[in-house]
């Protein structure tokens, strides 16, 4: 056991990489059951019908993107399929470029920029910006990222304040996140339907807002994206990642248990000597 | 609205009371009590004490945590002077460096025997997280520290530091208010100051009356919350919505 403790950490790393890599190449197909908060989020987003405007705020940084961006992809795919109007915005600088790339991708697939999807851009100032945006969209974004006045965009027709969106999804890696959106938007417009889409680490601290009804639902990290893909019956890259995810969990659990067994063993040895 | 008035009122009232000399007493905080024990153990082992007051600048959102970490540093400096054990402090942010030096300089004489050991404050790069952590690990390994204090705002480096300290056999006392990092600190160190405990410890050690009074005011706001919750829940069980209605208003 003590020899195990002195094991070069690189062996631990290599074993972990291998175990995660294999199921990516050769999937196991473990079934996935959506959890209650994801189902709530899915239903809240489903409430948007053809022609309804949905706001997605991409408040994430590149560092957390692999955990949250699949959610954005899955939600937009579903909304495009249904013919909703998707409006993208960012209150974290790095989120804006993801939005621009997504719009271009859907344009290439035959959707019309400005009608089906539009990117407003980024606004600095965190809570001040969110509050200002919620109260008057045009004051913060008189033009979209491509320089078009938003009054001329069909996608923005009839949108003056946060109230005019059928659903708002906040996709966040930190601050601002759902807590800030609730604080600035729900206080001004309690009737707005807000969904919290967060990276996995933020999941636990976001759930109290779902229980209190301040959020209509919550999607947590890559698994949240996978559950959404299952619910929308369009399995994609997030579902494909879940087997690897499972194996990673097992490996870390194994490490913790081995480590604690070694710890107990050395403690018992010390105890018997004393 | 009423809540805000109550909170502000309570904080104001206890602040005034504290200024008049009725300073509230702070409950014992396990991590703080363990501090003396940890410094003592390092002395027995004949190894230095190592201190990191977080990695963040003093003028950012994490400032309150850094400040609490620095106040604890003053206390640890006092203890290490009393036990005559060397103290090493690693500081990341340029704005924190002078404050840390000041804390050590003020804390040392309080423990008597100034000048026996020269406490060292080591500046390390802050913009690169990994480089900072590597610098700390280097100190811990080279000096074989006996006690390590990691108190302030930490991000992902929390793990590397706590693990490194445990590897050299140091007793580890950690504290942060960053919710993501607390779990890692709890499982990887001997004592952890959890969340608001670092602010309370800081206020307690600083003896600042405004802050201690503010602490009492915040406590009474929490007590109001607990009372509303419990009474409300009991009433709701019997079909009475009075408190819920009061809160919606």
């Amino acid at each position: 056991m003590e020899a195990l403790q002195r094991l070069d950490r690189r062996w631990l790393y290599a074993a972990l990489i291998l175990v995660i890599l294999l199921p990516l190449v050769k999937p196991l197909g473990i079934p996935l059951r959506p959890r209650s908060w994801t189902v709530q989020a899915f239903e809240a987003i489903e409430a948007a019908g053809p022609g309804d405007a949905v706001l997605l705020s991409l408040d994430y940084q590149v560092s957390g993107a692999p955990d949250i961006h699949p959610q954005t992809e899955a939600i937009i795919r579903r909304l495009m399929e249904k013919g909703c109007r998707v409006i993208l915005v960012a209150f974290v600088d790095q989120g804006a470029q993801f939005a621009i790339d997504l719009a271009r991708k859907w344009e290439a697939r035959g959707k019309k920029y400005g009608t089906d999807i539009v990117v407003l851009g980024f606004a600095p100032g965190v809570e001040a910006a969110i509050s200002a945006f919620a109260r008057d969209v045009a004051a913060v974004f008189p033009r979209d990222v491509r320089g078009n006045p938003i009054s001329e965009l069909p996608a923005m027709k009839g949108i003056k304040t946060a109230r005019d969106f059928k659903v708002i999804g906040d996709l966040a890696t930190g601050i601002p996140g759902p807590a800030e959106w609730i604080r600035q938007v729900k206080t001004a417009f309690p009737e707005v339907s807000l969904v919290g889409n967060v990276v996995t680490v933020m999941g636990p601290q976001t759930l109290p807002y779902v229980q209190s009804g301040q959020l209509a639902g919550c999607m947590i990290g890559l698994r949240g994206a996978a559950e959404y893909e299952v619910l929308a019956k369009q399995p994609g890259q997030a579902v494909a990642a879940m087997d690897a995810q499972s194996m990673g969990h097992l490996m870390i659990i194994l490490y913790i248990i081995l480590g604690n067994l070694a710890y107990l063993a050395t403690r018992r040895k010390k105890g018997s000597r004393a | 609205m009423l809540m805000l008035l109550f909170a502000v009122g309570a904080i104001w009232y206890f602040m005034q009371r504290a200024r008049r000399g009725q300073v509230p007493t702070v409950r014992p905080i396990a991590g703080l009590q363990a501090t003396a024990e940890a410094v003592g153990r390092a002395t027995e082992m004949g190894r230095p004490v190592f201190y990191v007051p977080g990695r963040t600048e003093i003028n950012t959102a994490g400032a309150a945590q850094t400040l609490a970490g620095l106040e604890m540093l003053g206390y640890v400096a006092e203890l290490s002077a009393r036990y005559e054990v060397p103290l090493r402090t690693a500081v990341a942010a340029p704005t924190v460096l002078p404050v840390a030096e000041e804390m050590v300089r003020q804390g040392y004489p309080r423990g008597g025997e100034p000048g026996l050991y020269r406490p060292e404050v080591v500046p390390l790069p802050s913009s690169a997280q990994v480089a900072f952590a590597a610098g700390c690990l280097d100190i811990m390994h080279r000096e074989k520290v006996g006690a390590a204090f990691l108190i302030g705002e930490f991000q992902a480096e929390s793990l590397m530091l706590a693990e490194g300290a445990a590897q050299v056999g140091a007793i580890v006392i950690s504290g942060t208010a960053r919710t993501f990092q607390i779990p890692f600190f709890v499982v990887a160190s001997d004592y952890t100051l959890i969340g608001e405990e670092i602010f309370a410890a800081g206020a307690y050690l600083s003896g600042d009356r405004d802050r201690l009074g503010g602490l009492a005011g915040q406590d009474w706001t929490k007590i109001l919350a607990v009372a509303l919750m419990l009474v409300g829940a009991i009433l709701v069980t019997f079909g009475q919505q009075a408190i819920v209605r009061f809160l919606s208003w």
């Binding site: 995660i20 890599l21 990516l24 190449v25 993107a65 692999p66 955990d67 600088d93 470029q97 606004a123 600095p124 809570e127 004051a139 974004f141 008189p142 609730i182 604080r183 600035q184 206080t187 996995t200 636990p204 229980q211 209190s212 009804g213 990290g221 698994r223 890259q237 995810q245 990673g248 969990h249 870390i252 | 809540m3 909170a7 509230p24 007493t25 409950r27 913009s127 690169a128 990994v130 480089a131 590597a134 607390i182 779990p183 890692f184 709890v186 608001e196 201690l212 929490k222 007590i223 607990v226 919750m229 419990l230 829940a233 009991i234 009433l235 709701v236 069980t237 408190i243 809160l247 919606s248």
Partner: protein, 199 residues
């Protein structure tokens, strides 16, 4: 072509960071890290300046909203901190941001305090509801610092600590899960976009 160049650069950048795992702090890793900080900073500047133009400058010159001159001047005053002797000028815009931020976050008293109390007022007819109500209350009690110690308070506060630890357990699990997800995402990129090993 550009797409391929981008993918290759991205793959090499990923591998450069990964060298840290097997070779420790090394030259390649440090270089990649510096490039990251540089691009990120430049990215921020570019976005910030374009939004300053969009929200401040354009309405000012095209619609004659000269009021935006005020925040522009305040914004420039921030940079006085780099000029010896005029550093104090940067305090006013900082104070503006701090005052605005502090008051905006005080709105939390409604959404993070009153609304949370309301959500905790649940009928005590299920075990879960009882745990939720008593758990929230006792964690709050654990975070009381100036109240006289009393056996009942101590007992409640210990229970609060256990609830808190279970909550941190959930946070721990999620943190580990999230880190695995990030790594899985990175591997997916390498295998799919770069090596074309998976679909």
């Amino acid at each position: 072509m550009t797409q391929q160049l981008t993918t290759w650069t991205a793959a090499l950048a990923t591998l450069a960071i990964m060298t840290f795992l097997f070779a420790g702090d090394n030259k390649v890793f440090r270089f990649a890290q510096h490039v990251f900080v540089g691009v990120a900073a430049g990215y921020g500047v570019a976005l910030a300046s374009s939004s300053a133009v969009r929200v401040g400058w354009t309405p000012m010159v095209t619609k004659g909203q000269w009021g935006y001159l005020v925040p522009m001047v305040l914004g420039l005053m921030l940079y006085a901190r780099f000029v010896k002797g005029f550093a104090y000028l940067s305090r006013t815009p900082m104070a503006f941001l701090v005052g605005l931020g502090a008051s905006l976050s005080m709105k939390g008293i409604a959404t993070d305090f009153a609304a949370q109390i309301k959500a905790t007022i649940l009928p005590l007819n299920t075990v879960n509801n009882v745990i939720l109500v008593l758990g929230t209350a006792s964690v709050l009690v654990y975070f009381l610092f100036t109240v006289k110690r009393h056996p009942v308070v101590n007992g409640v506060s210990t229970f609060g600590k256990w609830v808190l630890m279970a909550a941190f357990g959930a946070a721990f699990g999620n943190a580990v899960q999230g880190r695995i997800s990030l790594f899985v995402g990175t591997l997916q990129f390498l295998l799919r976009d770069w090596l074309h090993l998976i679909g």
